[in-house]
Symmetry: C2
Subunit: 150 residues, 2 copies
DNA sequence: GAGCTTACGGTCAATCTCATCCATAGAAAC
DNA sequence: GTTTCTATGGATGAGATTGACCGTAAGCTC
């Protein structure tokens, strides 16, 4: 995991369809060497998969909200994860430190649908309350930077 | 944007390196037709780019936090966005409805570094306070579902 | 309604790029 | 000195890309 690997990741995050020859050229290696490095990054699980970045609005998911979930029990176990996984509009689910116990990111098509999701979250075992934070505008969403922190 | 397009997006989100022939077979089309549909999805901006999914821990970003930012001025303008964009560990920045005015997602290597980031956020014009929500465990993070909501 | 035009996808096949694999060589570690 | 790792460069086969061609449906004219 050296500087070249980081650069390769940076390049692939920006455009994973780039040919290996271009990739190699950008980091000063042959296409074969670039290929081998990327193969190893995948093998080691550092690169998990190649995917596409989709416009949520085009998918009819124009409403974004973060929901903090309060509970009267420990929510860090698999049954909770599965219950949340079963709700397609829940994109992220985290166990957090603080007064609430869970934080989830939800993308719906309307505020009506958001309300329906909140109702559904309420029905999960242990949930005693929710607090929705509705997003008015997203400045940006970007992948994890591979550069060292500034 | 019909059922086949949605299926193609679903498949590509899972593995964007899949050959067009396999893609076509999965939706009952020829490779050429699948290719043409994907090309148009890109052209229309529904597919923004192909990218890779990277393990944040491998990049030395094992600490995830959401930070709610309070302010004494309107923070929804470009200068604020640029100030946040300049901090590499800030992955997302949203203008929110509610008592705080901004919500940002931050990934750092350590809590020390998180503290440094909070200090830096404080220095942005208009910021009067921050409230960090530290993530203990992430259940999952997944792409926006292209299936219609349940 | 019949016939025509056009737009829109679709299939199939030809071509050409690129991924992939392998032999080899050099450098670094032990 | 030996082993291991990583690079290069070339062969080859897979797959992306493109163009020619076809079927269908909508809209138009008569």
């Amino acid at each position: 995991m050296d500087e070249i690997d980081r650069k390769l990741i940076e390049l692939l995050q920006h455009d994973a369809a780039r040919p290996y020859s271009a990739l190699g050229e950008a980091v000063g290696l042959s296409s074969g060497a670039a290929h081998e490095r990327v193969r190893k990054l995948r093998e080691r699980g550092i690169i998990r998969r190649t995917t596409i970045d989709v416009d949520p609005v085009a998918l009819g998911r124009g409403v974004l909200a973060f929901v903090m979930i309060d509970s009267n029990a420990w929510m860090g176990d698999p049954p909770t994860a599965e219950a949340l996984l079963a709700v397609p509009v829940v994109e992220e689910a985290h166990v957090i430190a603080g007064s609430s116990s869970l934080l989830v990111k939800v993308r719906t098509g309307s505020t009506d649908e958001l309300q329906a999701v909140l109702r559904r979250l309420f029905q999960i075992d242990g949930v005693t309350g929710t607090q929705a934070i509705v997003v008015l505008q997203t400045f940006f969403e970007r992948p994890t930077s591979s550069l060292s922190a500034c």
